[in-house]
Symmetry: C3
Subunit: 248 residues, 3 copies
């Protein structure tokens, strides 16, 4: 029984996601549909990419992931299908599928756009039909021609300074106000953000309520946190805020 996951920035109230689900189940009535999210900030391709990175390989082999954050719909950007590490992904060629495209051995095709497809809703008319075919066992190569030079987005690299410090940045703020960085470190390390020194702890509970600190997040990256509070608000953090990991 095929598993098809859905990530969009559509919200659900307008019915766009409902239309996609109808297309998927009409083609593939036995598929298991799994909502990842429809609440991405509109047009936030970068956040879509980071979210895809978290979950796409956690699903079983054969899973089809639909990821539609698509401000360029109807433009000349390609529509992609990707096979990587036993999973399949469909979405626009704007970097949202980068985690799969960076996987060794991946194959990517530019989807043929059906002639009846609307120019404003490829989620329904291009990506859902392609996902349904993949879930039904069609080869990715049968869905289009090899993709040329698909767009790749990468998390910015941290930089080691002559002093030994490593300079990185905040790459995302999560629902709890935690600020996820692009830094890797070990317990006890010192982190500086907005002129504030915090220590890398094992978990939130190692901090006093209201105090700021850092933890190693569940994806291995350092996060700036405030116990029982929102670090992003308390420390004025946003995407791009510089963060420094002190040399020991």
């Amino acid at each position: 029984m095929a598993i098809i996951t859905l990530l969009t920035d559509f919200g659900t109230a307008d019915g766009y996601v409902g239309e996609m689900k109808g297309v998927l189940l009409t083609e593939n009535p036995d598929a298991t549909l799994v909502d990842i999210t429809h609440d991405l900030p509109p047009h936030d391709v970068e956040m879509g990419r980071l979210t895809v990175a978290r979950y796409w390989r956690r699903f079983p082999s054969g899973t089809v992931h639909v990821a539609v954050v698509d401000p360029g719909v109807g433009s000349r950007r390609a529509a992609l299908a990707v096979a990587a590490d036993g999973r399949f992904l469909v979405g626009p060629d704007n970097g949202v599928l980068s985690p799969a495209l960076l996987t060794p051995g991946c194959r990517a095709v530019a989807l043929a756009v059906p002639t009846h497809a609307s120019a404003t809703f490829h989620g329904r008319d291009v990506f859902a039909p392609a996902a349904a075919k993949l879930a039904g066992g069609v080869d990715v190569e049968a869905l289009g021609s090899p993709a040329r030079d698909p767009m790749i987005r990468r998390t910015p690299e941290p930089h080691r300074q002559p002093s030994g410090d490593v300079r990185g940045q905040v790459i995302a703020i999560d629902r709890f106000g935690n600020a996820i960085t692009n830094l890797i470190g070990e317990y006890g390390a010192q982190v500086v953000v907005n002129a504030r020194d915090v220590t890398l702890r094992r978990t939130y509970a190692d901090l006093e309520p209201g105090n700021a600190g850092a933890v190693i997040g569940s994806n291995g990256l350092i996060e700036i946190v405030v116990r029982d509070g929102r670090a992003a608000d308390v420390l004025s953090l946003e995407r791009g805020t510089p963060v420094v990991l002190r040399s020991r």
Copy 2:
């Protein structure tokens, strides 16, 4: 395996939708439950109707759609089950099911309300049990008596002026701030809204970033849009704002 979809204005946090899902799966453990939305603005029957219109026929024959936006719960409004075009729908008799009720050959019954039903939560006590029965193969006629004169809501009709212009209005604002109108038109047409002239393009990407225009939306109706922006905010649009399609 039966498919049952759910549309409500309940949100999810209070657990009301959870209760409905429990009732559905207790009666019908093999059903596939599909969330359409629970984020409709509270009591917004009109938006519920427009959303139902988008998806109800996209699902396979036999699908049961539950649509509960029900400010009149517990009043004398009827509770309906409808069979139309091979699908089934349940919901209050307030117009939310109009897209199915306007379908030729549809059959509608007024559901018998179980004596133990609460007076405030027919989603759980009336509509979910009826949907479970329909999903299990029970005839719609077995669930109640023929509905008399169910309430129909319609999208307002645009009007042709003596000048040849067609006068319509905004009927919905979507999550992206696009303003969906009741007008139909062709590429290149001129549209006037709030004293602003915009041209009907093929897609968003045919506009410069920040510029206003119009496109034919994925349901065939003209939408007022701003590339990479929120037309509703930029142009002060809301439901009911007049929109004129110029004669050529």
Copy 3:
């Protein structure tokens, strides 16, 4: 086919819920995943408890409920699995599972935490794996050692005054702005809240639009409501606001 429900305060956009679903389906590809909510206010264990109370017993025997509202993740709080009334529940030992823990004959174990588990995301690394095992038929006792003195939260009890009045309080505000109390009463009773007298009606529709009243909610408790309005806003109600049921 196993049913696994999910309640969290994670939102969906960050992908945490997606990771949990991937873990569940990798272990148990045939499971039916059911979203209850991911929109609980962050860290609101009390609201989680009230929501769990509404739905956990509405699902069929054998259902596995995952309920993760977990401000103490990584601390010494236990991770629990509970078997009660034929259903199974997993979640932190902070009271969110109280409705099951208060059920006669329930059994609770403290889950063994895998050595590779992150210190910040037990939803993915502890609770989802345990839920998958329960859904696959593993005994709850095989997942850990008997839980000692798990934390119980209870709805505050109303108090009968010498006058015969019963003094209670608002325990929750729902999405519609209805204020749910801890009081039980009969139609026609008088309720006083914030110096305002309202009468207990059968349903919202028994009130004039804009008028305040009370109804017996779908869980049997008195709710303060405003017809076509938000009682919480109109009457300045919040959790803890005192409410008095007058003696007859």
